[in-house]
């Protein structure tokens, strides 16, 4: 840290905070642009953008006395400068060194953020950067097209000093193995667009706001929604009781406009918390590039819909599951080039990452054209692990069988690799998606590929609730988890192990009695004369809830039950409805858990 005493502590911290935000943005753009550069080594605009990012980090870090950051970016900048002046050519070796430097840079920036004073050992990478800068890497490359050109005889002062350092280095140490660059096909930003993309402005028309303040705003917004609901309901009652009252008509019109404005305001507040999912997708090109390099596969990545927006809290949670799924797709899904050719497929495999909005949900799809899931292998494994019986599993549809892969410790991979196959992946994915009240679906055809669809609510704080009545009590179900509602026909209800299930088209869905399950009554499955079933989904599973009545749909704000009630399983919280009454919001994860426990 700088020993500068010219600034007040607070000022210094403010400058450092700004630096961290700026560095994060620049690093993330470097991450993407470097991977992109590999497939478009001649793109000068791209090179200039990359150069400028490294240059800026170097400049700003030097102000603040973060010497290691400065040294590293300085050496990166030197190479980038040569690349953009065509004194050097983009090679896989250079890309590897640059990407590795970038990874170290991330660590350095993290250390700054966490006020860690420890120094990293940068000697090795700096030596390699210098060697690469000298153009001496001449890799024994299997791809002659990517070979490095000879260093032209330009001798600036800089090159001279550098040459001295180089003499001690053994160039052989930096030779790396064969590689496959990942062509990133970004359908929304074609090459032309990159060229015309205006460089990022430092002072965009934005201000940074503390997340706590946004949360407060959202909470107050929630209260306002509750107040609005109650007002609208009361006014409605008054009007129907006293028809023709002039003042009441006035009140109605005010109430209507407040109602309207509240809805608009709520949208605006929610939008403020929305961030494009591209923020998460940004990590992916690099991930796919590294995975394909390590495994010797040829994988193209297609990203669509990165502008789709969702709540910040959802964005934060979705990153890890996505990485898991993409890893699986690259590692288990896509075959090696030889296998693909043998199977009559194009040598290059494709992984698609698609986001789209559907009503108040966002759908994220990960599609690969790899080898697909082997249903029989999963059937065998499920029997082997005593999860089900042979007869049962043989009668299941493929879709139902696939659900087993979301179980803990379930893996059919014959060999466990570094990245995946340890059987933890999909389990973690499921848990994360459940936390977000999301649903996950998997489709796969052997030899053709796998599609995983994740459906998530756009926001968590204010939800659309479905009001249902069961045994005199009113409950609220999150509408985003509701698949459909059906009128129960007793002819479609069967018993498996004495538990009722509903046959709905291809699916067999267990059904529960909401009131009884929440009371943890031993029965839990009494099928009285309840006429309706709500089919809800959670991650990969579905369950049918029998109810007496549908009461309507309302926007509800989740309030916690407070400490003394603590965590009541099956209840996510409570809310105040328009009529002023407190109702419980059903927590589907808890509900599923209780239902499983009931014998």
């Amino acid at each position: 840290m700088s020993e500068d005493t010219d600034f007040e502590m607070e000022e210094m911290q403010e400058i450092i905070d700004d630096f961290l935000v700026e560095a994060d943005e620049l690093i993330s753009s470097l991450d993407n642009n470097l991977v992109e550069l590999e497939s478009q080594p001649e793109n000068l605009d791209l090179l200039n953008e990359i150069f400028r990012a490294a240059h800026t980090i170097k400049g700003t870090s030097s102000f603040l006395g973060f010497d290691q950051v400065t040294d590293l970016t300085h050496k990166m900048e030197d190479i980038l400068n040569k690349l953009r002046k065509s004194d050097l050519k983009v090679s896989t070796n250079i890309m590897d060194i640059l990407l590795e430097s970038l990874d170290l840079l991330k660590v350095l920036i993290e250390n700054v953020r966490e006020h860690k004073d420890e120094k990293l050992d940068l000697d090795d990478i700096i030596k390699r950067l210098v060697v690469a800068f000298e153009g001496k890497d001449q890799p024994a490359s299997p791809e002659p097209a990517l070979e490095v050109t000879n260093l032209p005889e330009n001798t600036t002062t800089e090159t001279k000093t550098v040459t001295k350092e180089v003499s001690e280095v053994q160039p052989a140490s930096i030779l790396s193995s064969a590689s496959t660059p990942v062509p990133v096909v970004d359908e929304e930003h074609t090459n032309d667009e990159i060229k015309s993309k205006p460089p990022k402005k430092a002072s965009e028309q934005t201000i940074r706001v503390d997340v706590d303040r946004l949360d407060t705003l959202m909470n107050m917004m929630g209260e306002l929604v509750l107040g609005r609901n109650s007002m609208v309901q009361t006014v409605g009652k008054l009007v129907s009781d006293n028809e023709g009252d002039y003042n009441l008509e006035q009140l109605t019109s005010s109430s209507n406009s407040i109602n309207f404005i509240t809805t608009e305001l709520q949208m605006a507040v929610m939008k403020m918390r929305m961030q494009p999912i591209g923020k998460v997708f940004k990590k992916v090109p690099r991930l796919v590039r590294d995975l394909s390099r390590d495994s010797g596969k040829d994988i193209a990545l297609v990203i669509k819909g990165e502008a789709t927006e969702l709540d910040k809290s959802v964005i934060e949670e979705i990153g890890d599951p996505l990485v898991h799924i993409i890893r699986n797709s690259c590692d288990h899904g896509i075959e090696s080039p030889e296998d693909r050719i043998a199977a009559g497929k194009p040598k290059q495999g494709t992984v698609q990452l698609i986001a789209e909005q559907e009503g108040s949900n966002i759908i994220i799809k990960i599609v690969d054209d790899g080898r697909g899931l082997d249903v029989e292998a999963i059937r065998n494994k499920a029997v082997e692990r005593n999860l089900t019986s042979r007869t049962e599993v043989d009668n299941m549809s493929d879709k139902e069988v696939f659900k087993y892969i979301f179980g803990a410790g379930f893996s059919t991979a014959k060999k466990v690799t570094d990245v995946s196959g340890r059987g933890v992946g999909m389990d973690v994915v499921r848990t994360n998606i459940e936390k977000l009240n999301g649903m996950i679906e998997l489709e796969s055809e052997l030899g053709q590929g796998t599609t995983i669809s994740i459906k998530l609510p756009l926001t968590l704080a204010i939800i659309q609730g479905l009001l249902v009545q069961s045994d005199e009590e009113v409950y609220i179900l999150p509408l985003s988890s509701v698949h459909e509602t059906v009128k129960s026909e007793h002819s479609e209800i069967y018993y498996v192990n004495k538990k009722p299930v509903l046959r709905l088209r291809e699916d067999v869905i267990p059904i529960i009695n909401l009131g009884e399950v929440l009371r943890e009554s031993s029965a839990g499955f009494t099928l009285t004369e309840k006429p309706y079933i709500v089919v809800v989904g959670l991650a990969e599973s579905k369950i049918g809830i029998i109810i007496d009545k549908f009461l309507g749909q309302e926007e509800v704000v989740i309030k916690s039950l407070g400490d003394y009630l603590g965590t009541t399983e099956g209840v996510a919280g409570a809310t105040i409805l328009g009529d002023g009454r407190i109702r419980l919001i059903v927590d589907l994860i808890g509900l599923f858990n209780i239902a499983k426990k009931i014998k």
């Binding site: 500068d4 010219d6 600034f7 000022e11 403010e14 400058i15 700004d18 630096f19 935000v21 700026e22 400028r52 240059h55 800026t56 170097k58 400049g59 700003t60 030097s62 102000f63 603040l64 006395g65 600036t156 002062t157 800089e158 205006p198 460089p199 990022k200 402005k201 430092a202 002072s203």
Partner: protein, 124 residues
């Protein structure tokens, strides 16, 4: 009357660093994120800018372009311009002086050094 200084840099960190240094000494600071932005700001201001501090490597309009533009404008042909640069190469500095900069500072520098340089021009 407060002296007004226009600071042009594409890095918010540098902008903040320079602004704090100058504001602590009682100067009024106006900021711009690139040459183009600077030209726009300077031509829309009702008050006169007393000094310009600019980076060289910037998107849209770079430092050389900005200096050139200002020097060809009657109002700003005499305004002191200090270049902030992390280009160590001599020719870059020379080029800056040639297009009309008054002096240059190489990044990084201490706030005191910057203030010294500014006071060279703005001492009454």
């Amino acid at each position: 009357m407060d002296r007004i200084i226009l600071v042009v840099d594409d890095s918010p960190t540098v902008i903040k660093f320079v602004s704090f240094s100058l504001k602590n000494k009682g100067y009024k600071v106006v900021t711009a994120c690139d040459g183009m932005d600077a030209v726009e700001k300077i031509s829309n201001m009702s008050e006169k800018v007393d000094l310009v501090i600019t980076d060289l490597n910037m998107p849209n309009l770079d430092g050389y372009g900005l200096i050139d533009t200002l020097r060809h404008n009657d109002e700003f042909c005499e305004t002191p311009i200090i270049i902030l640069t992390s280009e160590e190469e001599e020719e870059d500095k020379q080029k800056g002086i040639q297009v009309g900069a008054s002096s240059y500072l190489v990044k990084p520098f201490k706030p005191a050094l910057l203030v010294n340089e500014v006071e060279k021009y703005l001492k009454n």
